[in-house]
Symmetry: C2
Subunit: 637 residues, 2 copies
């Protein structure tokens, strides 16, 4: 396969955003010294330096790609995600600070505001002249954002909202740009107009004036964190803070000059989840960043394993390379395959996002499917990052523990990816809810009780019939044999897909059946939910795994015949078989794998690892991480 070089792989991975990605790589390479520089910087200085470098990079336009051109942006949502993903090759505080400023704060103004807010703020935000925060999460309500207890009461006489932190634990927490640099915050609060509660809305609230904390606002620093210490996270309390009526970000609801509340969306829940739906770019971005961080880790660990010798194994006189050990291949190569798979799955999410947010795709159903796909891909991609970075650190031994070798920051900084922009477990529940309700128009705002009741109100067959998966049932039944009956080719990608689909559908039916049976038996809906929660998470997992494999196998299918196609096909097989292997117990329990076949899959994974071993360097070079960003001179020589 010498015909392939790393740049061909990089082009394949980069796809249509190759130019944008190359630009960001250049910026990061120009600032590669930053990784060293900040390593032992005290927190306050680290934060200030992050801001400085962020503004330098912003000046290139790379952080404003998602904003309309009239405000100095690039007018290309997909490109903005790609640029963000690529930035994860550098210092991750820089990345997250960028995400806070341009994604969360700027994104909220763009998506939830209207012309008056855009005209007032966007040009300054894009240029980095106006820094701000996204103040949604409260200490007392992490994931349950619909329950925030900050209140915005409309005062018709003054035509102002009064923002108030109403409960002890209702302060905004973990808010980026809050502790030091933010001037404005987009604050999410329960709106009360004329004594009536209207649900959660977003308001533009000054938190600093000329560098001083604004009157009525109290800010505390969140202090040292596990990582991302170049980002100034803080806590905010509001006490009688008054903002003008026009501060309400009024794309989906408004309070008129006459003091009337108006909205095209009737349900308060639906309205809030519609707002949230416009903000999923952050979620997609974090997933992509997790994948990129994994690529950095794998590049270092694989290259180390191709250089480091340890113990005489095949000869009396010289030690063997780590990557020539079967166990070491097993540790790293399936993770490389999975990282490729996630790259292609992320491409689908990014393209879907671009289609919906650029207006090319307008169906409500597509939007809801995007929300689910974004949630699921983020969860699996960020857990993958946590696992990969840990495995790579251990695979580099003691040297992996030294900060100069990159894993220290990678590990500490990415750790919170599994929690922010949606806790992964909560996100998988959202995915399951979508599947169980076939993305019914209310699905995203349903709470657990409502979802259980919804499902219990349907016949189980209805749940299945409504799912996309079900439409493929015939084909699945055809290809997934009953254990021991017939044996399709173990490397047949359709077989892999059929197995993953069968698992998904079977689990989905099982969950629906259990929910229904529990409620029919008169049990408390919440307890029913709790007792099947592992199955709920399981079905979401199975669904996302199927989407990931599908994305990879479709990519392989799109490639012209040749070495590149064949290499990608092997990687795709390795990923699919690793996924099936990891859950082979389930397939045996459900009669779709014989014990012999199950063992054969494990052997095949080992064989694929051996076959891919000679291409290991090529595969990680394909990630295209610029050499200066790897640091790790000790490990890479």
């Amino acid at each position: 396969m010498n015909a392939i070089d790393a740049t061909a792989l990089t082009s394949l991975l980069d796809g249509r955003y190759a130019a944008v990605r190359a630009d960001v790589r250049t910026s990061l390479t120009d600032h590669a010294g930053f990784l060293d520089e900040v390593e032992e910087l005290p927190r306050a200085e680290y934060r200030d330096r992050v801001l400085e470098v962020l503004l330098e990079i912003s000046a290139t336009g790379q952080s404003g790609l998602g904003f309309p051109k009239e405000y100095g942006g690039g007018g290309d949502v997909g490109a903005s995600i790609a640029a963000f993903e690529e930035m994860a090759g550098g210092d991750l505080s820089l990345l997250v600070k960028s995400g806070v400023q341009f994604g969360l704060f700027g994104g909220a103004i763009l998506q939830l505001g209207t012309a008056r807010h855009h005209d007032a703020y966007l040009a300054d935000i894009v240029a980095g002249r106006l820094l701000g925060s996204f103040a949604m999460t409260e200490h007392g309500h992490g994931s349950n954002v619909a329950a925030v207890a900050t209140v915005a009461t409309y005062d018709p006489a003054a035509q102002e909202f009064v923002i108030e932190t109403t409960q002890e634990d209702a302060y905004k927490d973990y808010i980026g740009n809050a502790a030091a640099h933010g001037e404005l915050a987009v604050v999410f609060a329960q709106l009360v107009v004329g004594g009536e509660e209207r649900g959660v809305h977003a308001f533009v609230v000054p938190i600093r004036v000329s560098g001083e904390v604004a009157p009525g606002v109290r800010i505390e620093d969140d202090g040292l964190k596990m990582g991302l210490n170049g980002v100034d996270n803080g806590r905010i309390w509001f006490s009688g803070v008054r903002v003008p009526r026009t501060s309400l970000l009024n794309r989906f609801a408004d309070v008129t000059e006459e003091g009337d509340y108006v909205s095209d969306i009737e349900s308060a829940g639906r309205r809030f989840f519609t707002m949230l739906g416009t903000l999923i770019q952050g979620r997609v971005s974090v997933g992509g960043a997790g994948i990129r961080a994994s690529e950095v880790a794998l590049t270092i660990a694989v290259r180390y394993a191709l250089r480091r010798r340890q113990f005489e194994a095949t000869s009396e006189t010289s030690e063997d390379l780590l990557l020539d050990y079967g166990q070491h291949q097993r540790r790293l190569l399936p993770l490389v395959a999975r990282t490729y798979a996630l790259r292609f799955a992320q491409e689908v999410v990014r393209d879907d996002l671009h289609a919906v947010f650029s207006g090319a795709e307008t169906s409500e159903h597509a939007r809801r499917e995007l929300e689910s796909r974004a949630a699921g891909t983020k969860a699996l991609a960020t857990w993958h990052a946590t696992r990969v970075i840990q495995e790579c650190r251990e695979a580099c031994g003691g040297a992996g523990y030294l900060a100069a070798n990159r894993f220290t920051a990678l590990k500490a900084d990415t750790d919170v990816f599994t929690t922010f922009e949606g806790d992964n477990t909560v996100l998988l529940q959202l995915v399951a809810k979508g599947l169980l309700t076939d993305y019914s128009s209310e699905f995203s705002e349903m709470d657990q009780l409502a979802m259980v009741r919804f499902v219990a109100g349907l016949a189980v067959d209805t749940v299945l019939e409504r799912t996309a998966v079900h439409k493929l049932l015939e084909r699945v039944r055809d290809v997934v044999p009953i254990a021991g009956e017939r044996e399709p080719d173990i490397l047949d990608s359709d077989y892999h897909l059929a197995m993953l689909r069968f698992r998904e559908e079977h689990m989905l039916g099982g969950v629906a059946r259990r929910l229904k049976a529990g409620v029919d038996a008169g049990r408390n809906a919440g307890e029913v939910f709790s007792s099947v929660q592992d199955h709920v998470i399981g079905v979401a997992h199975a669904h996302v795994e199927r989407l990931i494999h599908e994305a990879f196998s479709e990519k392989v299918r799109s490639l012209p015949e040749g070495d590149l196609h064949d290499l990608m096909e092997q990687l795709c097989d390795l990923n699919a078989l690793s996924v099936i292997e990891a859950d082979r117990a389930w397939f045996m329990e459900h009669g779709r794998l014989s014990s012999e076949r199950s063992k054969a899959i494990t052997s095949e994974v080992n064989r694929l690892c051996r076959e891919l071993r000679p291409h290991a360097r090529l595969l990680v070079d394909g990630f295209g991480v610029p050499e200066p960003l790897l640091r790790a001179k000790d490990l890479l020589g």
Copy 2:
């Protein structure tokens, strides 16, 4: 089960070392502010403060328990391990610095030296007046310590050894106490006497004189690490450093005044591994510390889950406690059960260690079994710590990411536990080697090639017949039914044990068969090894899991009937069934679980989690972590 209180659990866990542990808890509580204090201290100051506090704690005698009384020690090896484990409840740099000074450095002088070294150094070491390093690991030879390339050449004319770093990557690396505080180092080097290579020996070498780096010695700081930044790790090069003949730690070999090399142990390999065998206290200590760190993490996460409410699940009006969610129970409670299991397994290792090192147990075979058990328990305990701390951090959401809430340091500091005192993967290979060779007297010094040849030279049946496992075969066959035939009580502890034994023996036979077949077929022994390496690691894993369950179930059996017994029995069942569940694919593949039974085991794990839910607080309180060491005010209220 209200009859049990947490102190009863703590007594059970603490066993015979309750008093020692209580003393250490008091010391740590007295220094609880240290956890806060060092959080953002610059590295140099952190190191100095660690040394100060270490000396304060040493003054209580708690760090010298393992040394003979005549040098100011406590004369109790087991107690010294227990005290070290307990210290892991506090700052882990303090722990590791203590380990370097008293365990590694002091331990090497004690175990490898003779009266002249003891008299010269031990009293000062125990009192903390003489600080030192343990300089074994080289940059180029992490795990393969027999291959170190530092050379000590005997100069008969001067009656001195000349210590030399002979290769570019042969500098000593990651050496604690080297970068700042150490005066002496125990240096491992290839001894050359009269032109003849004698293998690796240990020498006492001054690395600092009056605070200045000694002539011929070069030291570099290892720089910032992922964690443990209160320990001054460094790199050391030696260039023509001369030390007197008496600097050789001569318990196992000596160079006489006449310049002759003498040793009671003929083989150089055996000699070195005999030396290493005397140093396994460090390994046992690290395993125990990993368990203690897990206890701290679980105490915080479980207590948070008993306080934190999120989402309305069982009621429209109030949110539910995290630990009332089935998924959250699944996340945390099996880890609690496993932590108890590991505590009891660690107790067995500690007692065995005490017996061997106090001279109560003198058989060579017992010593070799201890080496294997220490290696395996360390590997599983430290991987457990990595997993537990990660899961607990995620289970505490964003708050878990704040340094004040303890996970930051726990995660960063314990990460290297899987690597130091023996890389876990390498340790499991040692365990497998012991099993495959029935702890033959040469097993520990066999390299992979030798081991493969040894096994290939035996009939497979011989391998099995020689194993302890095999002796229990009859009983196993009796209790582990062929899938679907008979179904023993799913909660029968003998059934669990039989399943684990069956797995171990079956895997062991499989590895022996594959090694033999590969070599018989004329394949390169190293390649044969590489291709079965995952099975080699697997059999070691299975063996250690069996030992852990055995330790727990024997502990349960030793308890008088009553509530405490019943609670521990449930925990023991949960651990055993979780282990079987995690590998249920294997049991199905090998015909020992039907698919129905496999599903029943999963249901049973869920049921046990629900049953243990009301005892969750009691179980973590039983760990006895002093409240001030938990910090985490945010999480615990």
